[in-house]
């Protein structure tokens, strides 16, 4: 059954006054929590799924990561020693870390690095040698911002210097 929705009745005077009051309250003590990105960075948990690194020493070339990948982002590249090592194409990768879970020897492991700019499409294709260490990008951030809740359930923004975090 169709129900007709009518405009709620608001007293114009109190409505305008309460709107202005909300505006003034937000102006005096804003509840904004925007991060000014290049200078500030969001704090993330250790389990955050970022770029993936492969420890070639441990890798047994078992192809389990390539099998597990739901988007077929992992290619296996043949190395001079005859073994195959994984390389991730980050244009396809959805950072689900199924490959990390699938790895039987713990050679693949995730980092918390999630932001970086690729200058062109070729640079999104990571070869095994690119996977050997975490990707290096210039980090302009001076502060790390962490969100938390106080005892009343209100949002609390904690701003830390980058050196204090790690």
């Amino acid at each position: 059954m169709a129900k007709k929705v009518t405009q709620p009745k608001v007293n114009p005077v109190t409505g305008h006054l309460s709107a202005l009051a909300v505006g003034v309250k937000e102006f005096v003590k804003p509840t904004r929590f925007t991060i000014q990105y290049p200078r500030e960075r969001r704090w993330v948990v250790d389990r955050f799924r970022g770029f993936i690194v492969n420890d070639i020493e441990k890798c047994i070339s078992c192809f389990q990561c390539a099998w597990a990948c739901p988007v077929n982002a992992i290619f296996m590249y043949r190395a001079p020693n005859g073994k195959f090592y994984p390389g991730i194409r980050y244009e396809q990768c959805i950072l689900c870390h199924f490959c990390v879970d699938a790895c039987p020897v713990g050679s693949l492991y995730g980092t918390t690095i999630s932001d970086g700019a690729f200058p062109n499409l070729e640079s999104t294709i990571f070869k095994p040698e690119d996977m050997a260490q975490p990707p290096q990008w210039d980090d302009e951030a001076e502060y790390v911002v962490k969100y938390d809740f106080d005892e009343n359930g209100n949002l609390k923004v904690i701003k830390m210097r980058k050196s204090e975090v790690k």
Partner: protein
């Protein structure tokens, strides 16, 4: 050689001015600039008096709206001052941009109308005094003349939109025409109510009445004050009546096709109108330039107190951007033709009643 009289007296600059007046070429120029009518047109309440609030209010509008809406607003230019010189950098950018006149536009009207608009929007300043000794023209009917001159400006906006030959400009023009008809009558009636209340159209006498009784016009006739505030918001397309230049519906309304410096002119037009109408509001309702006399400033003491009021009222109008969404055209027209028209007629009756009951005021 005599001096142009009367000159504006500024005691704390007196030694410098006296020295400059004796310098051969600069002396007459300084004398001319300090001559009262020219000073009123160029400095307060004229061009410089417009630009200082303009730069501050544009910054304040963006910054305050951003703060309320959980953003930061302009920040990157002059980061330590919170981006306060952003409007100046925008002005430089507008100046350096190319002015494009598209093929369908009526070129003569298209180019000239923003300039006329800029002049017409500032024209009422000739008749609005900034203090007992700072005014351009004094006729004894200044408030009426200023209120009428304010309404010329809309013709320019309509011609601007028509000359642009553009879909959005056309819609904006039609909206401007509708809005103009909706707010003009209540605004005029609220001004007339104050003229009836004080029994004069002379701004000096109006302010003197308010000072003499220690009661501002806003308390003597609160209905006229409310109508004047709402119509000012409508006339200068401030929120919640940003209908003519609504960015989200019709790009910038009548000024869609403009670019470069001419767009800068069109953008300042609505702020100019806010400034002029705010001056009128301050004189009619908020006690004008009344305030303690500051001896070192001399004749500039009164404009300072008027400027404080103008700043505060303009900041209030800009702050509305943070609070309100904008009304639809039909809602605004309903407010104009129904609520405001009735209220303004009531305010005129209120004035007549007060005038009859308290002949002293």
């Amino acid at each position: 050689m005599g001096y142009l009289e009367p000159m504006v007296q500024i005691p704390f600059l007196e030694p410098l001015i006296n020295f400059l007046l004796k310098v051969p070429v600069i002396g007459p120029i300084v004398n001319f600039l300090l001559w009262m009518p020219i000073f009123a047109v160029w400095f307060v309440p004229g061009l410089i008096g417009l630009f200082i609030p303009l730069i501050f209010v544009i910054w304040w509008e963006r910054k305050a709206a951003a703060r309320v809406q959980w953003r930061y607003g302009p920040l990157e230019i002059s980061k330590r001052l919170g981006g306060v010189i952003q409007p100046i950098s925008d002005l430089i950018r507008y100046t350096l941009q190319e002015i494009i006149i598209h093929q369908e536009a009526d070129a003569a009207y298209f180019i000239h109308m923003p300039v006329f608009g800029f002049i017409f929007a500032l024209l009422p300043v000739l008749f609005i005094p900034a203090g007992p000794n700072v005014y351009a023209i004094n006729t004894g009917y200044n408030i009426l003349i200023a209120a009428v001159l304010i309404s010329i400006f809309n013709v320019v906006v309509i011609v601007t939109g028509w000359a642009s030959t553009d879909k959005w400009a056309y819609i904006g023009t039609v909206r401007e025409a509708f809005m103009y008809a909706a707010y003009e009558i209540p605004f005029m009636l609220s001004v007339i109510a104050m003229i009836i209340l004080f029994g004069t159209a002379d701004p000096f006498m109006m302010v003197n009445e308010q000072v003499a009784h220690y009661i501002p016009g806003a308390i003597l006739n609160p209905i006229a004050f409310i109508v004047a505030v709402v119509t000012t918001a409508m006339a200068s397309s401030r929120f919640p009546f940003e209908i003519v230049e609504n960015d989200t519906d019709i790009v910038v309304g009548p000024f869609t096709e403009y670019g470069g410096l001419i767009f800068g002119l069109t953008m300042t037009m609505s702020y100019e109108k806010t400034y002029v109408m705010t001056l009128l509001l301050s004189i009619l309702f908020l006690g004008g330039w009344s305030g303690p006399y500051i001896a070192p400033l001399g004749d500039l003491s009164a404009p300072l107190w008027l400027g404080v009021r103008v700043f505060l009222v303009m900041m209030f109008f800009s702050f509305l951007r943070a609070v309100y969404p904008s009304y639809r055209l039909d809602q605004a027209l309903r407010i104009g033709w129904r609520t405001l028209l009735i209220l303004s007629v009531v305010s005129v009756i209120w004035s007549i009643v007060i005038r009859l009951a308290l002949p002293v005021v």
